[in-house]
C-alpha cells in the first residue's frame, strides 16, 4: 500500500470488497434504489455506501444503468423505490435543486455550458446562497454588491486553476469541447460541494487534456471533496480511483480497490473481458 495516501484513502482500501459493504465514514448511503423503464430494470441497487474524501468510480458496460443511477440520486429522474442519505440527511423526496444545495452537485455527460452567457457568468452562477438571486434584493444593488465581488474573486481563482482565465469574457458557446468539460467542473466547484458527481468527465476530450482533467480530479480529492465519477476508460479508472463500484444490468456486482476489481472474475466476465477484447479490435 503506497505511503502517501490520506487517512480516508487508507480506510477505504481496507473495506470489505463485497457489494454493499460498509465503509468507515460514508458520505452517501443508498438503500434499495430501483427504477424500471417498462419491462427493463434499469437500476436495482440494494445497498451501497460511498466513502467520504476519496475518488469512487462507477464502471460497467453500456446500458449498465450508471447514468440513470446518477440521475436518480440527483433527482433528474424519479426512482420507483429507495432511500438515500447524504451527510446523514435524508435526500429521497427532495428536488434536484435542494439536493445540489445540500452539497451534492453533478455534471453531465453531454456538457451543459450556458452558451449565450460569458464564461465568467457561467462560473458565478455556481455560487450558492447569493443574496442577489432573490427577486427583491436583486433591485437593491447594495445588498449583494460585496458578495458579488467575493464570488467573482473566487471564480477568477478557479478559472486560473482550470486554465480558462483567457476565456473569461467570451461566450461559453465559443469554448472547445474539452474546455466546456473544464468549465462545467469548475462551475460545479463554485458551489463548494461536499460530493461531486462527474458523469464521464473524460468522454470526448482529447488525450492531452485527459491528463490535466485527471490532475484536477485528484486535486479535488486532496482538498477534501469526495468524488464519484462514471468513466468508460479502464486505464483512467485504474490509475485514479481509490474505490471502484461495478454495475451491470442495474445491479452492483462488485466493489473493491482497483487491484481487487481487476482480479475479480465476475467483473472480468461482465465487463473487462468483453471491453478489453473490443478495445483491441479497434484501431
Amino acid at each position: 500500500m503506497p505511503a502517501d495516501l490520506n487517512a480516508a484513502q487508507q480506510a477505504v482500501r481496507t473495506a470489505d470488497p463485497t457489494p454493499g459493504s460498509a465503509k468507515q465514514d460514508p458520505i452517501l448511503i443508498i438503500d434499495e434504489v430501483s427504477r424500471s423503464f417498462g419491462g427493463l430494470q434499469a437500476v436495482d441497487v440494494k445497498r451501497l455506501e460511498v466513502q467520504r474524501g476519496v475518488i469512487t468510480a462507477f464502471i460497467g458496460p453500456n446500458g449498465a444503468g450508471k447514468t440513470t443511477f446518477f440521475n436518480l440520486l440527483t433527482r433528474f429522474d424519479d426512482p420507483d423505490t429507495g432511500k438515500w442519505q447524504f451527510n446523514g440527511e435524508e435526500l429521497s423526496g427532495k428536488l434536484s435543486h435542494s439536493i445540489a444545495q445540500a452539497g451534492m452537485v453533478r455534471t453531465f455527460q453531454l456538457t451543459k455550458s450556458l452558451g449565450k452567457m460569458s464564461v465568467m457568468d457561467n462560473m458565478m452562477l455556481g455560487a450558492q446562497d447569493q443574496k442577489g438571486e432573490s427577486l427583491f434584493s436583486a433591485l437593491v444593488k447594495g445588498s449583494w454588491k460585496s458578495q458579488e465581488r467575493a464570488v467573482e474573486a473566487k471564480a477568477t481563482e478557479l478559472l486560473g486553476r482550470f486554465n480558462l482565465s483567457h476565456m473569461r469574457d467570451e461566450y461559453a458557446a465559443t469554448l472547445s469541447g474539452g474546455q466546456r468539460k473544464l468549465l462545467e467542473m469548475a462551475r460545479a466547484l463554485m458551489s463548494e460541494p461536499d460530493l461531486i458527481l462527474l458523469d464521464e468527465p473524460m468522454a470526448g476530450v482529447n488525450p492531452a487534456l485527459v491528463q490535466s482533467l485527471l490532475v484536477h480530479v485528484e486535486a479535488l480529492r486532496d482538498e477534501g471533496v469526495s468524488v464519484l465519477f462514471i468513466e468508460h476508460d479502464m486505464d483512467v479508472i485504474m490509475g485514479i480511483s481509490d474505490w471502484i463500484v461495478v454495475l451491470a444490468e442495474g445491479r452492483v456486482i462488485a466493489e473493491g480497490t482497483p487491484e481487487q476489481v481487476s482480479q475479480n472474475n465476475v467483473v472480468i466476465d461482465a465487463y473487462l473481458g468483453t471491453s478489453f477484447a473490443e478495445d483491441e479490435g479497434t484501431p
Binding site: 445540489a100 453531465f108 450556458l114
Partner: protein
C-alpha cells in the same frame, strides 16, 4: 406615368407626419409595454408565452370592472392595482401547472387562456360585470357619476385647460390635444420605467439565474437553482407589465370590449419584440415605433398612389385592399429581417450566431 409624376402628387408631410404620429402615440406605447413584458418572458427567461393578450385583458378588464362597479371607491390607481392583481392570478393559474412541464406546454396554455378569457368576458352571463358582448363602452362609476376618461383626461390632467379645452401642443403634424399628449406622457413613462426595471433585474444575480434557465434549465437546477420558482417569478412580472399595456390602452380609449383582445394582438407584440431585438434593453421601444411607423407609412403610401392614379387602381389594388396589404408588407419585411438580421435591430449579432451552431 413616370416616377417623378407619381412623386409630384404626394403629400410628403402627411405621409411622414402620420407615420411618426402612429409610432409615438399611446397605442404604440401599449405595444411597447407588451413587448417589454414579453422580452422578460421570451428574450431573457426563454418562456414561450403566446398569450400576452391574456395579461392585457386581465389588466384592462380588472381596472375597468373595479372602476365601474365602484369597488374601492372608483379610484384609478386602485383600479390599476386591481388589474395587476388579476394579471398575477392569471400568471399563477397558468404557470403553476404549465411551468413544471416542457416549454411547449406553456405556449399551448397561454394561447388557450387568452381565448378562454376573451370568450368568457363576451358571455351574456357576465353582462353585469364585463358588459358581455357589448363590453363596457364607457368605463364609468355611475354611483359617483365619474368616467375613467374624464378622470384621467381632465381631472388629473395638468395639460387640461378649462378655459381652452381644445388647445393643442406641438407643431406640424405632431400637434396633440391635451388629453392625448398627457396619455402619451403617462404611457411612455411607464414604458421607460418598466424597461429600466427589467434591465436592472437582468443585470443582477437574479437575472443571471433567469438567463441560465433560458440557456439550459437542467444546468441551473444542477447548480441548486429552483428553476420553477424563477420561471414563475418571471411569468408574473412580465405578465404584470403586459397588464400595464392593456391598462394604458384602456386609459386612452376609455372603453373595453372583448374584440380588443383577439389573438393577433399577441402576434403583433411578438412582431414588435422581434423587430426591435429580443434580449435587448430598448428593442421593444424601437420595435413598437417601427411597427406602427411601417404599418401607417405603407398604408398611407398605397392610399396616395391609388388615389392619384387615374383609374384608382395600383398593381391591381384598390383602396379597400390597403388595410390588408400593409400587414402583408409587414410580414415580408419581418421575414427579410429574419434572413439578414435574425437578432432584430438592437439584438446582439454574436448571440444570434451562437444559436446557429
Amino acid at each position: 406615368m413616370s416616377n417623378l409624376q407619381l412623386l409630384a402628387g404626394f403629400d410628403m408631410s402627411k405621409l411622414f407626419g402620420d407615420s411618426i404620429r402612429a409610432g409615438i402615440n399611446v397605442q404604440s406605447a401599449a405595444f411597447a409595454l407588451g413587448a417589454v413584458g414579453l422580452n422578460l418572458h421570451y428574450g431573457f427567461t426563454g418562456l414561450l408565452n403566446v398569450g400576452m393578450v391574456a395579461f392585457m385583458a386581465a389588466g384592462s378588464y380588472g381596472m375597468a370592472i373595479i372602476f365601474t362597479q365602484g369597488l374601492l371607491g372608483g379610484s384609478i390607481l386602485l383600479g390599476i392595482l386591481g388589474g395587476l392583481v388579476f394579471a398575477t392570478i392569471i400568471a399563477l393559474l397558468v404557470g403553476i401547472p404549465a411551468l413544471r412541464l416542457r416549454s411547449d406546454y406553456l405556449a399551448i396554455t397561454t394561447i388557450a387562456i387568452g381565448e378562454v378569457m376573451r370568450i368568457s368576458f363576451r358571455s351574456r352571463r357576465l353582462l353585469d360585470i364585463t358588459g358581455g358582448p357589448f363590453g363596457l363602452p364607457s368605463i364609468e362609476d355611475r354611483s359617483a357619476d365619474i368616467s375613467l376618461a374624464d378622470r384621467i383626461g381632465r381631472d388629473w390632467n395638468p395639460l387640461f385647460n378649462v378655459d381652452d379645452p381644445t388647445r393643442t401642443f406641438g407643431f406640424w403634424k405632431l400637434a396633440f390635444d391635451g388629453k392625448t399628449l398627457w396619455l402619451m406622457i403617462i404611457g411612455w413613462t411607464i414604458v421607460v420605467l418598466c424597461s429600466l426595471l427589467v434591465w436592472k433585474l437582468i443585470q443582477s444575480p437574479w437575472g443571471r439565474v433567469i438567463k441560465a434557465i433560458r440557456e439550459d434549465e437542467d444546468a441551473a437546477r444542477a447548480l441548486g437553482k429552483n428553476v420553477f420558482s424563477y420561471k414563475l417569478q418571471s411569468l408574473v412580472i412580465g405578465g404584470c407589465i403586459g397588464a400595464l399595456a392593456g391598462i394604458v390602452r384602456t386609459l386612452d380609449s376609455g372603453f373595453v370590449e372583448s374584440n380588443q383582445f383577439k389573438p393577433q394582438t399577441t402576434f403583433f407584440i411578438w412582431t414588435v419584440l422581434i423587430l426591435g431585438g429580443a434580449a435587448s434593453k430598448w428593442g421593444p421601444v424601437l420595435g413598437a415605433f417601427l411597427f406602427w411607423f411601417i404599418l401607417v407609412f405603407f398604408e398611407e403610401l398605397l392610399r396616395q398612389i391609388i388615389s392619384s392614379s387615374s383609374d384608382m387602381v395600383f398593381l391591381g389594388l384598390e383602396a379597400n385592399d390597403v388595410g390588408r396589404m400593409r400587414l402583408i408588407i409587414m410580414g415580408i419585411m419581418l421575414a427579410a429581417l429574419m434572413v439578414w438580421r435574425p437578432q432584430g435591430i438592437l439584438g446582439k449579432k454574436e448571440e444570434a450566431l451562437l444559436d446557429a451552431r
